[in-house]
């Protein structure tokens, strides 16, 4: 009972002393460190656009030359003209074309593919490709992580093409070498991304129209996981 009374007095004393401040604290000295932290960034932006123009050679009728032109254009081309001159001097007729152009900002692009038909290049490679050039602007190295395609109308013919691998992305570095997912980018590096479409030989695919969305992601290099 007595010890309980002493305990109560001790606690009351402690609280009273605490109210008097540092007078009863230990002597101290403090060194202050002012820290500044800048975080890096993982970012890229679209800096260029190009497309593919498929002409038919209108030279002698027995010539079946298909002239494929891919060129960098600062803006969407004027398609009011249909004819051009091939390298061999023959008159050419523009049959199909696709091109990329600027979207709402440097993270958005618009790609138009018009009058496509079944056509592939050497070894079945795609011909109809719209292209964007992306400049890596982040201070932290990044790697191309993934691209996801989705038709704007779920389950339509475009979604079928996506599911069957007829709509693909191809990546080329500044030297023009083909690269792939996981390709590493440092600040200032560029990569050209071709979004390519193959129309298979299927009569039911004539006279179709549709739209799709694609999202292309870059990730900090040390978090990339190959799939």
């Amino acid at each position: 009972m007595k010890s309980a009374k002493l305990g109560v007095m001790f606690l009351v004393s402690l609280m009273a002393l605490a109210g008097t401040g540092v007078a009863f604290s230990a002597w101290t000295d403090t060194i202050t460190i002012a820290g500044q932290v800048d975080t890096g960034s993982v970012s890229w932006e679209i800096t260029g656009y190009s497309g593919t123009y498929v002409y038919k050679d209108l030279g002698p009728k027995d010539l079946d030359d298909i002239v494929v032109v891919s060129q960098m254009l600062p803006q969407a081309p004027d398609h009011s003209w249909k004819y051009g001159i091939a390298d061999n001097g023959d008159l050419c007729y523009l049959v199909s074309w696709c091109y990329a152009s600027a979207g709402t900002d440097d993270h958005n692009a618009v790609m138009d593919y018009d009058n496509l038909f079944p056509l592939t290049g050497v070894g079945g490679s795609p011909v109809f490709c719209a292209d964007i050039t992306i400049k890596y602007t982040g201070s932290i190295p990044g790697k191309i992580n993934n691209i996801n395609f989705a038709s704007d109308i779920p389950g339509d013919w475009l979604q079928t093409l996506i599911n069957k691998g007829y709509i693909t992305a191809q990546y080329y570095n500044a030297a023009g070498d083909k690269v792939g997912l996981g390709y590493q980018l440092h600040c200032g590096d560029t990569v050209t991304v071709d979004i390519c479409i193959i129309i298979p030989q299927d009569n039911t695919l004539m006279s179709h129209s549709g739209s799709f969305s694609a999202s292309l992601e870059v990730i900090q290099w040390n978090e990339y996981v190959a799939v």
């Binding site: 960034s41 993982v42 970012s43 890229w44 932006e45 679209i46 038919k56 009728k61 027995d62 079946d64 298909i66 007729y93 049959v95 199909s96 990329a100 979207g103 993270h107 958005n108 692009a109 618009v110 790609m111 138009d112 593919y113 018009d114 009058n115 496509l116 038909f117 079944p118 056509l119 719209a130 964007i132 992306i134 982040g138 932290i140 990044g142 992580n145 475009l158 979004i195 479409i197 129309i199 030989q201 009569n203 695919l205 004539m206 006279s207 179709h208 129209s209 549709g210 739209s211 799709f212 969305s213 694609a214 999202s215 292309l216 992601e217 870059v218 990730i219 900090q220 978090e223």
Partner: protein
Amino acid sequence: MKHKINKIATIFVASLFALSTLGVAYAAWTDTIYINGSVTTGTLEAEFGVMPPTIFDPFGPPPIFPTTTPDWNCDPNLGFNAPDHPHVVDKNVGSGETHVVDHDTLELNIYNAYPGYYNHLDFWVHCLGTIPLKTDHVVVRNAAGAIVATITDNVLYEFDINGDGYNDMQIWWGDDFGTQLHYCEQTDISFGFCFLQPLPQDSHITIYIDMVCIQWNEYQP
């Protein structure tokens, strides 16, 4: 003590779940570019009928003889294989009629035909698709729709038109395949035909001609 550790562990796990709902705060740094694409495919389309088809001998009797519109004949047994065939004869017996059923179908009717009777059909193929095309081959079907011949060259074709097991008709295709057409262009195509001796009497002959076109870059000569 053990209960206390379990309680702390439970709180820790619960916190993890709660933090995971905060989303990307704990994911890797990323940046994303978005692409909106629109796609239209072209059209490969040909049709009959911009210029009406014509037939060389639309003139039936009467009169059979004398006539100013005589028939032409092939050899009843050899058809075009005989020398100097076809040739004009002195009677007007058979006749032909043709019309476009729809944009894709041409109907040919032959009246009062007989072994050796010759006629000639001329028609136009018009390209109305956005993809250039080439004429590729022709399918000949009988009245029942059965395929009796597939024509791929401008040579002589002999076939059984009525399904009785005997060849009773010849077609000599008059134009090369591989003719190239762009949008709104058309080409004139014709062929001659004659009937052979196994042709049954009192029968009405109807044939359908399917002109198959192919996108220009897929044509195989």
